[in-house]
């Protein structure tokens, strides 16, 4: 079983009130040196069957039409290799 990660971020020109709220909170909590924060969403999709081009195309389609609101958001689709998964688990 393969894992595909879809990251959804507000487009760079779009205001991100959540990210701004986080950024404003940082210095109050003593964390300095962060000039900007943008907050997004991460979807981890466990895919049944082989992860071929057709499957990836389907995922791109579902990301574009459902996971992301492409009027205001961008998304990236990436396949997470087994090694990366293990790495991330450390």
């Amino acid at each position: 079983m393969a894992r595909v990660v879809v990251d959804v971020m507000l487009k760079p020109e779009i205001l991100d009130p959540q990210g701004q709220a986080v950024q404003r909170a940082l210095p109050r909590l003593g964390f300095h040196g962060i000039s900007d924060v943008r907050q997004g969403k991460r979807f981890e999709l466990e895919v049944d069957g082989p992860l071929d081009e057709a499957a990836l195309a389907r995922i791109r389609d579902l990301a574009e039409s459902f996971l992301a609101n492409t009027v205001i958001e961008d998304f990236t689709v990436k396949v997470e290799e087994a090694a990366e998964v293990a790495e991330a688990a450390k």
Binding site: I14, L15, D16, P17, V71, I72
Partner: protein, 752 residues
Amino acid sequence: MSRTPLDTVEHAAATPDVELPWAELGLKKDEYERVVEILGRRPTGAELAMYSVMWSEHCSYKSSKVHLRQFGEKAPQSDALLVGIGENAGVVDVGQGYAVTFKVESHNHPSYVEPYQGAATGVGGIVRDIIAMGARPVAVVDPLRFGAADHPDTKRVLPGVVAGIGGYGNCLGLPNIGGEVVFDSCYQGNPLVNAGAIGVMRHEDIHLAKASGAGNKVVLYGARTGGDGIGGASILASETFDDAKPSKRPAVQVGDPFQEKLLIECTLEAFREKLVVGIQDLGAAGLSCATSELASNGSGGMRVTLDDVPLRDSTLSPEEILMSESQERMCAVVEPEKVDRFLEICEKWDVIATVIGEVTDGDRLEIYWHGGKIVDVDPRTVAHEGPVYERPYARPHWQDALQADDANKLPRPTSSDELKDQVLKLVGSPNQASKKWITQQYDHFVQGNTVLAQPEDSGMIRVDESSGLGVAIATDGNGRYAKLDPYTGAQLALAEAYRNVATTGAKPLAVSDCLNFGSPEDPAVMWQFAEAVRGLADGCLQLGTPVTGGNVSLYNQTGEAAIHPTPVVAVLGVIDDVARRTPVAFQEEGQLIYLLGDTREEFGGSAWSQVVHDHLGGLPPQVDLERERLLAEILISASRDGMIDSAHDLSDGGLVQAVVESALLGGKGARLVVPDGLDAFTFLFSESAGRAIVAVPRSEEVRFNDMCGARGLPATRVGVVDGDAVEIQGEFALTLEELRTAHEETIPALLA
């Protein structure tokens, strides 16, 4: 970093042959040539950006201006009007030293592209207009129109719009007290998301958008400027949607209601300390609009250093900064010695504020970037002297056929059972059904001053706690009537809103409008627009309610198909004591139901013709504005003197719709008798204007009848509040349970 040299004024003068993307920015060839003529040289990139957004249809009203002048020319004498058309919003005197400002605007196009944010920023924009007048916003209303209720795209657009309005308004802590929701397939590709707001202030607090006094500082405060919604006004709201060109969809703006709340409090505190000379909110066309309007309305010129504008994205070009429509920003003109205090207040509210320029004693608007002068214009040519078009208009060739297709000739129910079925079908149809599922997503009662909210005939807000002084607002519009006859349709919208305000016991004072039409380049649409404006201006003159401002939204069409002409009219009224208001709901069994006004066979554009026959044709109901005025006076007097306990205006759906609503809201049935001279069908479904039903306590019947008789208003006793069914004697009875199911389950079933 940039390889091309900065396009300064000098550079532009030295390089007259440089081609600029005026067409891409929405300017026509002759408009561009006019800019060159005004400046005596080619514009710089920044100047072109300013002219293109400010001369767009949305900002310049270039197609509508010649018609809108009638609102000024035919304005009735009104002692109540403190500030008229042309400012951010009109201001009306409501007595006891209070003034009320209100306005309706459209956010149609952005809401189709991105329903949630489009609708949310619509609320944000109208609220900033109210703050800019010096008033504290106290309520919002939202007249909405969508495509067919059962169309799949409606299920995408409507929940997003409703959530956006609710989300933004609820976060701001503003009650949503009125509006409408209408479905019609003509709005499928062009939903109408209109937003209105009311603000309250003392007379002495009125502020205007002007920059005077050389040396005064220009302060930009609120959110940082980002790349959102660049050219939104010129491109989005001024062109027809065309699916073939997705690149025409620019990024829409995302709003931040918490930032807006800070902006409200910060601005009002600055007003209280009298720190502000002039003020303007940043809406469509952003800084281009704010600087050019402030400068051209003031006495002098203005110099702005664009490098000082706080940015969210440091890579923005000066053109983009000038065109950005980032939300939650305002621009204030402050005397130099008061700037420190102004900035202190902004800091207290966590609002970023920066001095970006000053008022000069010249008459030019000059904007600098990296030390170079990139704009040097007469601000009036940008803000007020844009192109004006006398667009050709012509009565469409199909208008006669449409009017000849008489709805009065449609087959009518032939038996009591059929009549009963049609009543159930009507009250359960999407347009006539309860909109509770939608309106309950809005906060109606926050701030604790809401007296009436949906589904009452008008929203009502208490202005003064000790005296009980209040204001009422109603918004109405009927695109079906306006399609059949735009002149009459606009007057019917006015008459209905006027009547709705009076029905709740308030005296109508002034009007704001949001005129939603198709493409002005289509002579048929332009005719509809011209007729509607003429109708509205004539109507306002006759009723004595001046138009204080509003908004025009054109290009509401997909391909060749324009929406129904949809003038939405908001009427503001005042009531001396909100305790005397009249609700819609039946209050007590045994009270007598009176029908006020004349009922004729009028079914053109009616809800019945739509629901039962899917028909639109014939003529809309006649308008008699003198009758409307008389009816309003009677309703107001009866409310003040305690002669009626409930009242409901009759409009789409006719008497049966009104009775069913009053019965369901009050949880009390009604027994009705068809009056002499009318058949049951006409009695129940006719949409004749100038009518209302009232419930009169038996002890008041004589007094009420005497008053109507003395004033010459037909008042017919048609029934009594009684039981737990709506019964039409000799015809049928429908229990409140049956009616409630039909009326309240439609919308959740379609949309939830």
